[in-house]
Amino acid sequence: MTILAAVVAIGLMLWNESGVARATFGLRFLIPSLQSAWDPVNDRYQAWAFIYGTLITSGIAIALAVPVGVGVAVFLAELCPPWLHTSLDWLVELLAAIPSVVYGLWGIFVFLPVVVEPVGKLLESSLGRVPLLSLLFAGPMPASGSSRLAAGLILSIMILPTIAAVTRDIFRAIPDAQREASLALGATRWETIWRALIPYGTSGILGAVILGLGRALGETMAVTMVIGNSIESSPSLLRPGYTMSSVIANEFAEAVSKMHTQVLVEVGLILFVMTLLLNALARLLVWRVARRSTMEVRA
């Protein structure tokens, strides 16, 4: 009976692939290439625009969520007074419980006008003028603020709890003996965290980051609601974009031609494989730190 459960889980993945395999024949040239051509009418497809969109928004999310997440984890694990522990842990995890569509709604009507637009204008006028960086920060940002930047920022809020919670657990798993060793040598608390604990937990922290990245890649609703959903030739963060999950969400229900459908499924396959690999890698890294903490000293 329990084998059913396992098989369901694994079978699901295999089936998915086979369902998609039908899309793959004849469409090998989807993955490479940089030309953005998405033309359902003439059945010409090129997925790079979406892959880029997914990668860049996730990249922004990681760049922001990792320092903040690790900082939060350090606070929760090392500095937080005991009576504050449970409540703060809760609150951080509650951030992860808010449904994606709610983030999206708030994103469109609150976050975009209040945060993204001013930030976008600032970036455009400052970094957008710098020669190389202007590629990434060229304007103009649409009046609504819908942009890759917006999606990246909202994503960073959404993956922050994942990174923070896992990293916090990593820190809590580090044996006290390590802290004592550092402090007894005359190190300050920060020096202990920075020079002893973080190096100790590096692979675990990396695992947390990868888990967060996996979540960011697959996130659909909030991203779709604020990214503008248009295929843009400019790589700029300030312009609207399109992600893999968004295009599937927007176009699948109305896809008419068989090719169109299969192409979308193939995009889904790419997404699936990416998250699968990342997930496995992350679990491996986290597991390695846990194992190291329980290894005994050889006598």
Partner: protein
């Protein structure tokens, strides 16, 4: 003979002071970052309450939507849809989830136990939209139509990892002594699991289910191509109509489960994209209801877990 000092470690008072300042500075920054991280939580929750609360009224909960341009109307169809989907998803997710958890908790080091845990982790990492595609391929396409059944199945896939993982955690909290006492009395393995361990962990299982529902209730993407959405769905009408028309159980179930159905998140998604102010207002109200639902489920579950863990630790 006095203590020998090498010159290499003489440190100035200024350097020491700098170390202290850096220490205080960095530690404060982590505190600030925590505040920064929690700010969106309060911002979103507060805003949704304020903006959504304005559009909440009784009609909201008890009526179907009115055509655009007309005032009033509600989201009864979405509420019923969410409940129906939650029911279906739970029905699909609980049996395999429980069994998997039971097995994995009891035999953590066997190949099957490891594989189960691995599969659960992998499943939890699959993007929800991909699960939707899967549901489409598996149920909608063969059946030829969108349905609550397909939606429930897709949501079940999302629920299973949460149910399994939480149940497994709670099962691990059950003290060995209970299990051993039963085995010592001569009860076979599976009976022990079923009649001793399971009831003791029932609380925990419930929390797993609650958390699973909380997660599934908030999902939109898997429903986009499975349940699709249906603004005219109304369960009570179906039931009363069926009873009046003396329809058989099979037919009733068919009408309930085999139609496309809306859910709160789906409705939110649709309304948010429409340029009509009354729809936008309703979207905020839906957000409020959805958020309350999810947060209440979450908080209840976590409180349960905390008290349970504390009680078992004794």
């Amino acid at each position: 003979m006095s203590v020998v000092r090498s010159a290499s470690l003489l440190v100035s008072a200024a350097y020491q002071r700098r170390r202290r300042v850096v220490n205080a500075g960095m530690l404060s920054i982590t505190g600030l970052l925590t505040l920064l991280a929690l700010a969106p939580l309060f911002w979103i929750v507060g805003y949704v309450i304020a903006r959504g609360g304005r559009s909440l009224n009784l009609a909201f909960f008890t009526q179907l939507p009115r055509p655009l341009g007309m005032d009033g109307g509600g989201v009864l169809h979405a509420i019923e849809g969410t409940l129906l989907l939650a029911l279906l998803a739970s029905a699909f997710a609980i049996p395999p989830g429980l069994l998997a958890a039971l097995y994995a908790a009891r035999h953590p080091n066997t190949p099957l136990g490891v594989a189960l845990r691995f599969a659960t982790d992998v499943l939890s990492g699959v993007p929800s939209i991909v699960i939707g595609l899967f549901g489409y391929a598996l149920i909608v396409r063969p059946q030829g139509h969108f349905s609550a059944l397909a939606g429930g199945a897709a949501l079940a896939l999302i629920m299973v990892p949460t149910v399994t993982r939480t149940t497994e955690e709670m099962l691990k909290l059950v003290p060995h002594s209970l299990r051993e006492a039963s085995l010592a009395l001569g009860a076979p393995e599976w009976k022990t699991s079923l009649s001793v361990v399971l009831p003791a962990a029932l609380n925990g299982i419930l929390t797993g289910v609650l958390l699973g529902i909380a997660r599934a209730a908030g999902e939109t993407a898997p429903l986009l191509f499975t349940a699709l959405g249906n603004e005219r769905f109304e369960a009570v009408q179906i039931l009363t109509g069926a009873i009046q028309g003396r329809q058989g159980i099979g037919q009733i179930l068919n009408r309930l489960f085999e139609q496309p159905v809306d859910s709160l998140p789906l409705t939110l998604w649709k309304y948010a994209q429409q340029p009509y102010p009354e729809r936008i207002n309703q979207a905020w109200a839906v957000a409020l209801v959805l958020m309350i639902l999810v947060l209440v489920l979450n908080i209840t579950a976590r409180v349960w877990i905390a008290t349970r863990a504390r009680r078992l630790r004794g």
